[in-house]
Symmetry: C2
Subunit: 350 residues, 2 copies
């Protein structure tokens, strides 16, 4: 039985979904994968809950005792106010840091500090947080290599759409020559409504906000930055480069008019906010913008809030993956998947 | 540097494509994955070529010196006439048997004997041959477990379409509740032509044969048996069962009339030869037959000779993968991928 002791950093929607998933799936993961994942600590802005023994925190009591708004440090038996993720990783109580704090594309914090601390102290990292990787991929990757630990981030690339894993595992040994992706469900939902229902951009955006698909401040999505962030992570993970967000040419969907959409429909093509990374000599060119796809392009069928990605390879031809849950439970499922694959590759630790 | 010494069993189109791929990709695989794959022996019906040293056979000379029709035992320096795969695996000269002999769905031979011999002698197996797994999955799986070796067969499930790997790696930790697949390019090509061009079954089949997509004797494909074989392998690998081919309810496309296809088109649905595996209590029900898909079903867009598979899961929602080269080079690429993933999971041997 492999044993990976976890620190879950961030106890928002994804952190909570992960604790519930560990509770729900723990027995099946142990039986099928020979893997136990005790929760050594769970940390939020106000402090942490820290386990007293090797069995970890009692997941049922954590999940039940911490409704939204109540942080882990408030728990009587395990609560430790004020302690931070960076302090906890130094205590030697865990093997993996699972990072679920909110993404900040300007500073990468607080995740960046957490990842640096964890990797420096020999902890593997599994992260759903994009910021640190979008800004400091090269540094973090070297830090992981130097300390002989893994840095896994499939949950940060597109939640349960296995964009990164498809490249890592399913296309191993093939050269990926070009990547095209529809990586943001909100913008795809808006463009699909404009095309199908002839709504204006503002109408479709309002409907997406009403349904909870778009955020009140939708700029990260509609400006193309969420898409660009995912593209950076995927390209860096698969093409052997260390792109940063400022190296991507980004345009969004805010300027798309209903006339343009009607014109595309008349021409029989499908508008998508497309992320593209393509090899160009030793470098990689990356861009995000609206492209008109031929109807037989595999991403032309990826409609509504769904996402998809196509890899063009030398030996395996074109491979497309689409779907995957986008909500916190989907992101938590991607974190669990990374933990299982980490254990497969690194073998017994405990 | 990990070192996995290979015996390639079968030197037909797939075996030849693999030797060429090892030649072409050897340096990149060593650099990126820290993996060397020396060819200890290559075996065909008439005997083998066997390397004299740890560096393995010279791939360039093997590829150049053996045009189609000329077997490895004819090579002057390395040829060893009459020796068989089963004898070679006992010599301790290799870590992995790569099986590429033709599939026989009645007897599973000659692959079945080769796999039994290899697993019993502690060799990992990577196979593109379906027969042994379709008929004796349970036995071979137990044999692999008992001997602490891996049995990998993604190349047997649909060549470069990563049907199996998607489930193994990308959906790890999720419950797969239902699998639906378009797993045979020939039948999908025929049905697509009937729908798009209003050809009869016989006309579309003749065109597929003319293009080399269908074989002269197309029964394995059009009868649904190739699809059913792949479904058995995928379900066994992912759903924890040990189905055999006779447990699948199979019907093919021979009886499909142009009238039926026109009726489906009028109703706005898309006919596909669909493989379905679904959990039913502790068991799994598996079937192959023509189904009419709604136009927004993800496999409705998988047209022509392309293949695709959709997994319905508990935590990750619906995930579909489509595409992937079907020819011998695609199958060889899938074998190479299995070797890389094997090395990742098993670590250093040499």
């Amino acid at each position: 039985m492999t044993n990976l002791r976890l620190i879950v950093s961030g106890y928002g929607r994804v952190g909570r979904a992960l604790v519930r998933l560990l509770l729900e799936k723990g027995e099946a993961v142990a039986r099928r994968h020979g893997l136990e994942l005790p929760l050594a600590a769970v940390v939020d802005v106000d402090g942490a809950a820290v386990a007293s023994g090797a069995a970890g925190l009692p997941l049922g009591q954590i999940a039940a005792g911490l409704p939204p708004g109540k942080g882990p440090s408030t728990l009587e038996t395990w609560g430790e106010p004020s302690v931070t993720t960076s302090v906890l990783v130094e205590r030697g109580l865990a093997d993996v840091l699972v990072e679920t704090t909110p993404t900040d594309l300007q500073t990468g914090e607080p995740g960046l500090g957490h990842l640096r601390a964890a990797l420096s102290h020999g902890l593997h990292v599994v992260t759903a947080t994009k910021g640190p990787l979008v800004l400091r991929f090269g540094e973090l990757n070297r830090l992981a290599e130097r300390n002989g630990v893994a840095l896994k981030y499939s949950a940060a690339t597109a939640a349960a759409l296995p964009a990164l894993d498809l490249g890592v595992y399913c296309l191993a040994g093939a050269e990926i020559e070009r990547i095209e992706g529809v990586l943001n469900g909100t913008t795809n939902f808006i463009l699909t409504r404009m095309r199908r229902l002839e709504e204006t951009y503002q109408e479709a955006l309002a409907e997406a906000q009403r349904l909870g698909i778009a955020e009140a401040d939708p700029r990260l999505d509609v400006g193309g930055w969420d898409t660009a962030s995912k593209l950076v992570l995927i390209a860096n993970g698969l093409l052997g480069v260390a792109l940063t967000l400022d190296q991507v040419q980004v345009s969004g969907i805010e300027g798309v008019t209903l006339d343009q959409i009607r014109g595309a429909a008349a021409a029989g093509v499908v508008p998508r906010l497309l992320a593209v990374a393509v090899r160009d000599g030793g470098a990689v060119r990356a861009s995000v913008g609206v492209e008109h796809l031929a109807p037989d392009h595999p991403l032309a069928a990826v409609d509504g809030a769904e996402k998809g990605i196509t890899y063009f390879t030398d030996t395996m031809d074109r491979v497309t993956v689409a779907g995957g849950k986008s909500d916190p439970r989907g992101a938590a499922a991607a974190l669990l998947k990374d933990l299982i694959n980490l254990a497969r590759e690194r073998g017994v630790k405990g």
